[in-house]
Symmetry: C2
Subunit: 488 residues, 2 copies
């Protein structure tokens, strides 16, 4: 195809301006630099062209342009993802959903809200909290991350033990498929007939299309909430307490463990004065429910903590006291930045019963490698977040730390767990997929992907190591699209 | 392909005997008649050949035979399905999983059980109840229906309001794909990376392959259970009470409504002496939880019932009293058989807020058509089960009643609901799929189906009206396989 005197990207930019308006297309080099990475800043790629549509119809028209010229595309919400799922491509279009930021409808009777993908997670709760409702999934980036990104990554959060992750709260989706068709998946009632395509789409990391309307389930705000902080001399005792609470038939809203390194890091930085510096670990438990029910639950949990060796158990019920107990946990990742010049956050899952054993093995890996590892994690879900501390100015340290992170993931898989709890695979963990899935399993996923995206244009480099080798792009354009060179 | 002197089915039977043993193959005509229908007895088809494998490897070898000769196949568990999902084909193999009846492992620490597909639903709870656990989904056929069938149909039940349907309790699957490959979907930890193929497979009605190992989540048995029976002068008041209970932030284990016709039918048959014959409707509410929590919940629900016009509220906490209150509900379908020579059960879903409006519309349909309709339903989920009463000896009555059932489904779709709550689409409701889904939506599902089953051999006539017209088979064999004729 001959595209007259203009460069191919200039021609495409003109088509996109005709679709979405002149202000929707970012071609200026410095403006494009803003989009070169997401929360995984170690991977960077400047996109050749960025478009910010506002409607489903614009997204459909844009994907039809991509389909016509075989241009791969990457969708991006707020760019807070931690696995490089929104990493741009050198020869692909970046489609940013941040201007699709409207809450389209609120139905309190049926407890659902329809939003555009650029709506920020925390806005949903803000919009319905006055009427006594909230949106449960709460990734720690919730004041900035978008619902579209949450859908792509199937995001979790501290309170997902009881209420589940994003997939448990998405009832339906309007999706633009990679060839530009608009389809409705799921809908206002749960468990519809036909294949559960809503469930497939949630967590598909932008590889099956772009969600342009999302129907979310909202929950009744609990009447009462209590937070318990128990401290233990060993992390093993904290882990066993978690199992004992679950065994008692209690499902807290959240259960978090922080180890001694993390406790001291947060006390150095935010001085909660609640986290004993000599504790082997602390356990934070949040319970919610009816006003008459919560006091009973907190008593029962307190008893279980003491039965399992807790030295002290603090309980907070009013909001200020609760936030005080949570303060250190919320500051944990930031505080880790004070412990060493750099840190690497891993995200893996193990069956809850293996908690103590895996923590011991991580400890051994830390000692043999010489890198300190802080452990802060969603203990109730078995979702570990080891923070490996290092100094990137020491040559080879990043590589060593990435290797160590990989060894931890392999421990998780060996224990029957998973290489990702809530951060996704993205660009970062593609090489570990064969550790977790057989060739036949991965082929089945790829067959599904091809059914949605036969030309392999939707975020093609993400999730899978195949069909090409790890790190190599798996697509090709029918027109010659220059990448890194500035073509405007 | 020339198959020597034997008929094609004889040759295939010989291959299947070599795979699964002589006693695993049913070719005798009278024995095959047993399998000619499932719970939807109005559709019947004698299968030309039946095989009952015992292992995953046998299933894989059998599907490779089907693939080689392009023989379509239908999987069947206990055959209790109500939508004809296990209806055999005149030219297809019937694969019965009832001999795959082993509980393979029980892991109480991680609250999961691995079973073969022929394991009966109630056996799972029986196997773990001594240790204080149970399996939540409880279709009314639970003492006979199989877990494999539950997975195929994404079965629900009376207690699924709080705990969700089958898909919420399946962590992983070993599946034999239609071409004979064995894959693992999901696994012991929830929310794994990659596409949620477990979620797609659950509810796929046998069209994507055969599950041969199923990892189920088990729950801690609640400490306490209470059942409340409230009676109302109108069904509208009962419906409004359901909404008021949910609005109060309470999620009961189950909430069921029975109308006046149903109440009188069960009192005639089982004489519970608890269901007032003059009530417009009764509401049954079951709550469960900690021993200290349940009394508070029952008090609160009782108050809400009275606030919404209930005349009396009976409460039962010990098991015998609870079963007495449930007795009439459990007998409702059987009792309907006494009201008229025949009845037709419909299964549709509406958003809970539309309950009163739809019940009014069903009442109008009943009056204009002249057919009485009894309503017994999972009110908390908005899952209706209207029972249309008729006499099949009156010419044209079955057709009229099927038409009336279709009109009710269309009302459900118009209200933003669904054409099936828990019985599946199967053979019965394929023609209604276009009422609920657009052509693009159905094409997306078909593309997914083709990714799993490119030769379209797995239960090919079910779920979808396309690619052929309704009621016509959508497959072809490469060998000439006689159907109805007895070839043995």
């Amino acid at each position: 195809m001959v595209l007259s005197q203009t460069t191919p990207w200039q021609r495409i930019a003109a088509e996109l301006r005709a679709i979405a308006g002149a202000d929707a297309v970012v071609s200026d080099e410095s403006e494009r630099l803003v989009y070169e990475c997401d929360g995984l800043a170690s991977y960077r790629q400047r996109p050749p062209l960025v478009v910010l549509p506002t409607t489903t119809e614009q997204v459909a028209a844009i994907l039809k342009v991509c389909d016509r010229y075989r241009i791969p595309f990457v969708a991006r919400g707020s760019g807070t993802g931690l696995s490089g799922g929104a990493l741009p491509m050198a020869d692909g279009l970046l489609i940013v959903t941040s201007r699709m930021n409207q809450i389209l409808s609120i139905d309190l009777d049926n407890q659902q809200v329809v939003v555009q993908p650029g709506v920020i997670n925390a806005w949903v709760t803000q919009a319905v909290s006055g009427a006594g409702f909230y949106y449960a999934p709460d990734p720690s980036s919730q004041i900035i991350c978008s619902i579209g990104g949450n859908v792509a990554e199937n995001s979790g959060g501290v309170h997902c033990l009881k209420y589940g992750v994003t997939t448990n709260h998405v009832l339906g989706l309007k999706v633009v498929l990679p060839q530009g068709d608009i389809v409705a998946l799921g809908g206002p009632v749960a468990d519809q007939p036909g294949y559960d395509l809503t469930g497939v789409f949630v967590g598909s990391e932008g590889t099956l299309g772009i969600a342009t309307e999302i129907t979310l389930k909202i929950l009744k705000t609990p009447e009462a909430i209590a937070v318990l902080l128990a401290d233990f001399t060993t992390i093993t005792a904290a882990g066993e307490t978690v199992s004992a609470i679950i065994r008692a038939g209690i499902i807290p809203a959240g259960m978090e463990i922080m180890d001694n390194i993390s406790i001291n890091a947060v006390e150095d930085v935010v001085a909660t004065n609640c986290y004993p510096r000599d504790a082997g670990a602390i356990l934070l438990v949040e319970v919610d429910g009816l006003a008459a029910e919560v006091p009973l639950l907190q008593e029962q949990i307190q008893r279980i903590c003491y039965d399992n060796g807790s030295r002290t158990v603090a309980i907070a019920t009013d909001i200020e006291e609760r936030l005080k107990l949570w303060k250190g946990r919320k500051a944990a990742f930031a505080a880790a930045g004070r412990l060493s010049p750099n840190y690497f956050v891993q995200d893996g899952v193990i069956p809850r019963s293996q908690l103590s054993q895996i923590l011991d093995q991580i400890n051994i890996l830390s000692e043999t490698s010489g890198y300190r590892i802080a452990n802060v994690f969603h203990a109730g879900d078995g979702n570990l977040h080891p923070l490996i501390l290092y100094d990137e100015t020491i040559p080879g340290s990043l590589e060593a730390v990435e290797h160590l992170g990989g060894e931890i993931l392999k421990l998780c898989v060996q224990a029957g767990g998973s290489i990702s709890g809530e951060h996704g695979i993205g660009s970062d963990k593609r090489c570990f997929m064969p550790d977790m899935f057989s060739a036949a399993d991965l082929e089945t996923m790829q067959a599904l992907r091809a059914a949605f995206d036969p030309k392999h244009l939707a975020n093609p480099d993400k999730i899978f190591p195949t069909p090409r080798t790890c790190g190599e792009a798996a697509h090709s354009s029918i027109i010659d699209l220059p990448g890194e060179v500035d073509i405007f």
